[in-house]
């Protein structure tokens, strides 16, 4: 083979290899968008994961009024009762009747709970709720029960209510569920707990390594220990968390694995990241600044706090951002430390899942929920990519700052 052809082939192989990784990244993004984008909604971000059920009756002091405005959105609309309903198929493949609009004058908007223990509390039908059955009064004054089967589809329900009902009595409905609010809150808790603990330890360690440590054996050992932490798989951190840190969380009242335990474990996972990004920033700070400060009579600690650290703030910020990204993406360590039980109202000392762990929970069950998992993955990816982008900009500024 001539040299020219061989060269061309070899060069082409580098192009092909690079193209492969572009294809993989594109495939990941396309798959997540195709599967997840339809689930993205405000309800997803603010809703509960577990569907709530309600049994509500129209309040006794409600007086019928014509609906205020006409509605021309999705679904079938009853101009008499001020309610619009559409047929949907839920993530669990159930056919349901979903409310798309409730007029403020509608009887459905003036309901109170009939459930024992909650009677009298406001419990109106809302957009997104799934109607299970309806009781209404017909022209002869009798109460008619409209079961799920008798309601049929949305069109039939609206027709029945429009033509036969003279008053609405009560109705059973379910919240949609499948929301990730609880996991978002848990993730925020984890970020705050882990950073609050990791930052001071990490920054102090970096300062010691760069500003104080000479080349003695013990300092070499310290550096080696911190470097080794980087290579430890996160699942091992999880084991360490339950074995070492669980007793610590018991001191403040935790009875089971908890968000606090997860946060503490993550704090240790973040240490190498925080240390190395702080140290990289310290390296860039010119020695002349330190010398200048020292020669003006400042002590070493004054120099560090007032001269060196303010210059290294970009590096610390990079560490914080990378740390946030790591917390959002972490799953294996949390399986052991926060449990895989999805919680709608997580507290610091209760169990709960972060966004990533929630994906693991819904994917490792009997019926994996690909739509929801893709939607959450998409949210995580966007956050992580944005963080990546900001870190890059900071890095560029850092490189320029002492030119």
């Amino acid at each position: 083979m001539s040299r020219n052809v061989k060269d061309r082939l070899l060069q082409a192989s580098t192009y092909i290899s690079s193209a492969l990784s572009v294809i993989v990244l594109a495939a990941i993004i396309i798959y997540l968008v195709v599967n997840g984008v339809s689930s993205l909604s405000m309800h997803l971000l603010t809703g509960d994961y577990y569907a709530s059920t309600a049994n509500s009756g129209v309040k006794s002091d409600y007086v019928y009024n014509e609906p205020t405005a006409s509605y021309d959105g999705e679904g079938y609309y009853s101009s008499k009762w001020g309610i619009a309903v559409e047929d949907i198929v839920t993530a669990h493949n159930d056919e349901e009747l979903s409310v798309t609009y409730v007029d403020p004058n509608s009887p459905f908007a003036h309901m109170e709970s009939l459930v024992a223990g909650q009677d009298g509390q406001d419990s109106a039908l809302g957009v997104g709720d799934l109607i299970q059955n309806v009781y209404y009064e017909d022209a002869s004054g009798e109460t008619v029960f409209l079961s799920k089967v008798r309601m049929g589809d949305a069109e039939n329900l609206i027709m029945t209510l429009d033509n036969e009902a003279v008053a609405i009595v009560s109705c059973n409905f379910e919240g949609l569920g499948g929301g990730i609010r609880g996991s978002i809150i848990a993730t925020l808790y984890l970020i705050v707990i882990s950073l609050v603990i990791s930052l001071p330890i990490g920054i102090a360690s970096a300062i010691y390594l760069h500003e104080y440590a000479n080349k003695s054996k013990i300092n070499k050992l310290i550096r080696q220990g911190i470097d080794t932490l980087t290579g430890v798989p996160s699942i091992i951190y999880g084991l360490m968390g339950v074995a070492v840190l669980f007793p610590v969380t018991q001191l403040v009242g935790a009875t089971s694995t908890s968000i606090l335990l997860g946060g503490l474990t993550l704090a240790i996972i973040l240490l190498p990241t925080i240390i190395s990004s702080t140290e990289e920033a310290l390296i860039v700070v010119p020695q002349s600044l330190r010398d200048g400060s020292l020669s003006l009579g400042a002590t070493k600690s004054q120099t560090i706090f007032k001269v060196v650290l303010p210059c290294a703030i970009n590096g610390i910020l990079t560490g914080v951002l990378l740390g946030i990204g790591r917390v959002i993406g972490e799953s294996a360590a949390l399986v052991y430390t926060t449990s895989t039980v999805i919680s709608d109202n997580p507290g610091i000392l209760t169990q709960g899942t972060s966004l990533s762990l929630m994906i693991w929970s819904i994917m490792s069950g009997e019926q994996p929920n690909y739509q929801l998992a893709s939607a959450i993955s998409l949210i995580i990816l966007v956050i992580v990519f944005v963080i990546n982008f900001i870190v890059k900009i900071i890095g560029k500024r850092l490189a320029r700052s002492f030119m």
Binding site: I201, I235, L239, M240
Partner: protein, 307 residues
């Protein structure tokens, strides 16, 4: 000039305090690795000691066993170790050439802007969380494997298979391998390249014969790091491994079980033998990573010497 002796003394003691504080924090950070190993060791070894409360397990049977059934209380990780090694090795085998070629593209072949763009793509791939790769793997890779298998007339367990694990791991260690290789390639002495070019070698010949040879040690270090990642990758692998109860698995279309998937799957209670034995599996994982790193570093030294 009048020196305020009192203030001077106070400043000195503040200085000393902070020196001590920084050092203590650094020591604390470094001590975590010791704590991790000690505690996982202590808890992982406990099921093999006499007087273990849920019934002592034979260490030899554990390490050489070919069945892992938590429902029957049989715990053998011998085949799981082999599975883990096989999966990670083949993942490295696929990923290594692609990463090195991509690194060469970024470092030497590509025009500057294209190279930078490619570097960003590698960084993005590195930042994708494990669990997201898992969703992608169970939604796309398993489907692909299932189609390939059915085209060849082989039935799979919904696509969950050793092949799926290998492809997934190859994708996941690619960013590590590539960025380490890029660093090594960019660090190659310019004089070497210019000498090669001056002797009449083409640019491509120089890249493949001189640059890659000179960057060998750094690329090898990347491979070691990547292999460690492959061993320790947990959630994504557990989603597509399928968790076979016995083994080892050598058929790429058969389900498999790795050390990490064993530790994750079926975790329900937080006491008892089934829970404690996961620490033992974790201990085995640490040992596998440590021993393979040690062996590969020896090889690396030898490779480096021959250069």
């Amino acid at each position: 000039m009048l020196i305020d002796k009192k203030r001077d003394k106070r400043n000195k003691s503040i200085d000393k305090f902070f020196h001590g504080f920084f050092m203590a924090m650094a020591m604390l950070s470094a001590s975590f690795i010791v704590i991790i190993v000690l505690f996982v060791f202590a808890k992982g070894i406990s099921p093999f000691l006499p007087g273990y409360e849920y019934g002592q397990v034979n260490l030899f049977d554990f390490l050489t066993g070919t069945t892992y059934r938590q429902d029957q209380g049989i715990y053998g990780v011998g085949f799981i170790i082999i599975n883990t090694l096989v999966c990670s090795f083949f993942a490295l085998l696929i990923s290594f050439p692609i990463s090195v070629l991509t690194a060469l593209f970024i470092g030497k072949v590509a025009p500057k802007k294209l190279g930078a763009a490619m570097q960003s793509i590698v960084e993005l791939l590195a930042s994708v969380p494990s669990v997201v790769y898992g969703v992608f793997a169970s939604g796309v890779i398993t489907v692909g494997v299932r189609q390939i298998a059915s085209a060849m007339g082989i039935a799979t367990f919904g696509g969950s298979s050793m092949l799926a694990v290998i492809i997934l791991l190859a994708i996941m260690i690619f960013p590590t391998l590539t960025s380490m290789s890029v660093t090594a390639i960019k660090a190659v002495d310019k004089d070497l390249e210019q000498a090669s070019l001056a002797l009449g070698a083409t640019k491509t010949q120089t890249n493949f014969k001189i640059v890659l040879t000179a960057a060998k040690s750094g690329i090898f270090a990347g491979a070691i790091l990547g292999l460690g990642r492959a061993f320790g990758e947990a959630t994504a692998v557990a989603m597509v491994a399928g968790n076979k109860l016995f083994g080892p698995t050598f058929n790429p279309f058969d389900i498999t079980r790795t050390l990490t998937s064993t530790m994750l799957v079926g975790l329900k209670e937080t006491t008892g033998l089934d829970y404690d034995i996961r620490f033992s599996v974790g201990l085995v994982l640490i040992a596998v990573i440590f021993i393979s790193n040690w062996i590969l570093n020896m090889v690396k030294k030898r490779v480096g010497r021959n250069a």
